[in-house]
Amino acid sequence: MISTLFLTQLQILINEAMTEFSAPDYLPALPEIFLGGISLILLTIGVFVGNRITTLLTWVTSLVLIAAVVIILSLNINDQITFGGLYIADTFGTFMKCLVLIGGAITLIMGMSYVKNEGMKRFEFPILILFATTGMLLMISANDLISLYVGLEMQSLALYIVAAFKRESIRSTESGLKYFVLGALSSGLLLYGATLVYGFAGGTSYEAIGNIIESGDLSLGLLIGLVFIASALAFKVSAVPFHMWTPDVYEGAPTPVTAFFAAAPKIAAMAVLIRVLIGPFYDAFDQWQQIIIFISIASMVLGAFAAIMQANIKRLLAYSSIGHVGYALVGLASGNEEGIRGVIIYLSIYMVMTLGAFGCVLVMRKRGQMIENINDLAGLSRSNPPLALVFSIFLFSMAGIPPLAGFFGKFYVFMSAVNADLIGLAVIGVLTSVIGAFYYIRIVKIIYFDKPKDSFDKPINIEITATLTLTGIITAFFFAYPSPIISGAAIAARSLLP
C-alpha cells in the first residue's frame, strides 16, 4: 500500500519535473542562501587562520546575522512559494526570522567574554551558532514536511554540539549528550508522524495535507500522525510533558549557549508549531485544540510550582521558560487571528526579557569564577545598584507586573483566550502567573533585602552592559511605544490565517 503510494507520488512528481522543470525562484530564499554561503566562507577562514581569529569571527557573525535581518526586511516578500512548494516566504516568517536572528546576534555579542574566559575560544563556536540560526530560518520557512524535518535537524545538530562545547566540563558534556539522545527521540516521533500523515494524505506538502483535511476526510491515521508531530514540536518548545530535558540541559550548557537555547530555537520551534497547526491542520482545529490546551495548562502549572524550590539561577530560568511556553500556547489554543497575534507579541517580549535575564547571569562572576546560586545575589543592590535595578526589571516583567513589557504579553494572550470562550484557560493562566510571581519576587527580595555578600567582579564589560541597557529599556518602556511590535504581529498573524 505504502509503496504504491510512494510510486504514485513519484510518478506525479516525475511528470512535473520532466515536463515543466525550470530553475526555481531563488529570491525569496536570499537570506538563507546568504547565511549559508557566508558560513562556509567563515568556516574556511577559521580552518586556515585558527583559534586566534575567534573574537573577530564572533563580531563578523553577529554582523552577518544583523545583515540578514536587513535583507529580510528589505525583500519584504509576502506569500511566495518556491523550490517546488518546499519553501514559503510570508510576513509571519519574516517576523519570526527577524526575532530569531536578533536573538542569535545578541547572544553571540554578550557571550563573547564568557567564551574567552571559560576556555571555549575556538573559532567553530560562532560558526555553529550561524549554522543553527540558518537551520531555524529554513524550519520557519518550511512548507512541506520534508523541508521541515531537514531544517529542524540542521538546527538541532548544531545545537547539540554547542551544548557540549565546553568539552572538559562534565556537566556541559552531559547536557550535550542528554539533549542529543532526547532530541533524537523527538526527531523519531516527528518522522513517525510525518510518515503516517504522508501515507494517509498522499503527500507531504502542507497544501496537499490541507486539501485532504478540508475535504472532510480526517482519517484515524492522519489524526495519529498529527498527534505525533505535535508531540515532537512540543518537545522542541519544551512544553510539559515533553520538558524533562530542559532543566538539565539549561543548567549544564555554557551560559551563553543556554541564553541562545532559551531565545532562538524556542521561538523558531514555536513558529513551526503555529505554522503546522494553523496551516495544513487548520480544519482539524477541534482535535488539536484539546492537545494544545492540555500542554498549555500543564506547562503553566509546572513552570509555576517547580521553579519555587530551585537554588540554581539557570535551572530556575529553565522552569520559568517552560512556564512562558505555556502562556504563549494559550494564544495558540484560541486558534484565531487575535490568538496568533498574542503569541507573536508574547514571544517577542519573552525573547527580550530572557536575553536580559541571562545577561545578568553572565555577570555573576566572583574572583574569576562563574557562580550560579541564587543566594549569591544577596545584597546586589548595595554592591552594584544599576545591575540590581535592571535585574529586578526583568524579574518583575517576567512575573507580569504592569507597566513592564511582560504584562502586555500576558494581557494580549489572555484577552484572546477570553474572546475565544476559553475563560477557564485564561483563569488558570492568571492564577499560575500569580504563583509564579512568588519566585521571581523572591529573587528581588534577595537582591534588595538580604545581607550583602562579597560583590561580583568589576568592571562589567561593555558588550554585556550595552545588551542589558538595551533590553532593560525595551522591557521598562515598552508601554510608551508598543505599536511596532503590536502592529507587526497583527500583520504577521493575518498573513498566516486563510
Binding site: I14, E16, A164, G202
Partner: protein, 209 residues
C-alpha cells in the same frame, strides 16, 4: 516464474536463519558477520521486488558502513557479552509473556475492524506505471531538480556533523612528532651534515666531538 519463487525462498530462508544466528551465536564477531549475510539476502529480496535502488543502498550503507562500524566496536571495545547474556533464562518467561500480549493485541486490532485504516478515495489519484521508468532513474530525476533544495540542506547537515565530530573530539597534542615539510626543506645542508675523515683501522675507536 518457478525460478523466481525458488530464488525468493532461498533468499528468505537464509535471511531468517542468519537473523536467528545474529542473536544466537556466542561470539559477537560471528553475530556481526551473520548480520552482514542477512543484509545481503534482504538486498536480494529487494531486487526480486523490483526495488533495485533500495537493494544497492542497503548494501552500501548497511553492509559498507554500519556493519563494519559494528565490527570495529565489537573488536575494539572488550565488552563481556557472556555477562550481558547472564540473565537470559531468568528473563525469558516474562519476555515471552510480554511478547504474547503484544501479539494478541495486534491481532485484535487488525482482525476486529475497530480501526479503519482505509485510505480515503481522493488520496490515490493516479495509477503509476513502474515499467516506464526505473527506480534509480526516477529518484535521480527528482533529487537534482525538484528536491535540489533538500539535497543542499542535507549536505549542510553532514558538514555540521563533521564539524561537530572535530570540535568535540579533536585534541591538539604537542608530544606527537610530526613531519614538517617546510622545516625539512629550509634546513641548511652545511650545518646538517658534517664530514669526518677517519683513518684506516681507527673506525672502532672513533668518537664524534
Amino acid at each position: 516464474m518457478i525460478v523466481e519463487q525458488i530464488t525468493f525462498y532461498i533468499f528468505a530462508v537464509i535471511t531468517v536463519i542468519s537473523g536467528v544466528l545474529v542473536i544466537g551465536s556466542r561470539n559477537p564477531v560471528h553475530s556481526v558477520l551473520f548480520l552482514i549475510l542477512a543484509f545481503f539476502n534482504s538486498a536480494g529480496l529487494f531486487v526480486l521486488m523490483g526495488a533495485e535502488f533500495i537493494a544497492m543502498i542497503l548494501i552500501i550503507v548497511y553492509v559498507g558502513a554500519v556493519a563494519v562500524l559494528f565490527l570495529f566496536v565489537v573488536m575494539m571495545l572488550h565488552i563481556d557479552f557472556s555477562k550481558l547474556r547472564a540473565g537470559f533464562t531468568r528473563y525469558l518467561p516474562i519476555g515471552c509473556v510480554v511478547g504474547i500480549i503484544l501479539l494478541v493485541e495486534l491481532i485484535l486490532v487488525l482482525t476486529t475492524g475497530t480501526v479503519d485504516f482505509n485510505i480515503p478515495k481522493n488520496v490515490i489519484s493516479q495509477i503509476p506505471n513502474p515499467e516506464a521508468i526505473s527506480n534509480t532513474e526516477a529518484l535521480g530525476n527528482l533529487l537534482y531538480t525538484q528536491y535540489a533544495y533538500l539535497f543542499q540542506i542535507a549536505g549542510f547537515i553532514l558538514l555540521i556533523a563533521m564539524v561537530g565530530a572535530i570540535v568535540l573530539t579533536h585534541k591538539k597534542r604537542n608530544e606527537v612528532k610530526k613531519q614538517k615539510i617546510s622545516d625539512q626543506v629550509n634546513r641548511d645542508p652545511n650545518t646538517a651534515v658534517t664530514l669526518h675523515k677517519i683513518e684506516t683501522k681507527e673506525g672502532g675507536t672513533w668518537k664524534s666531538d
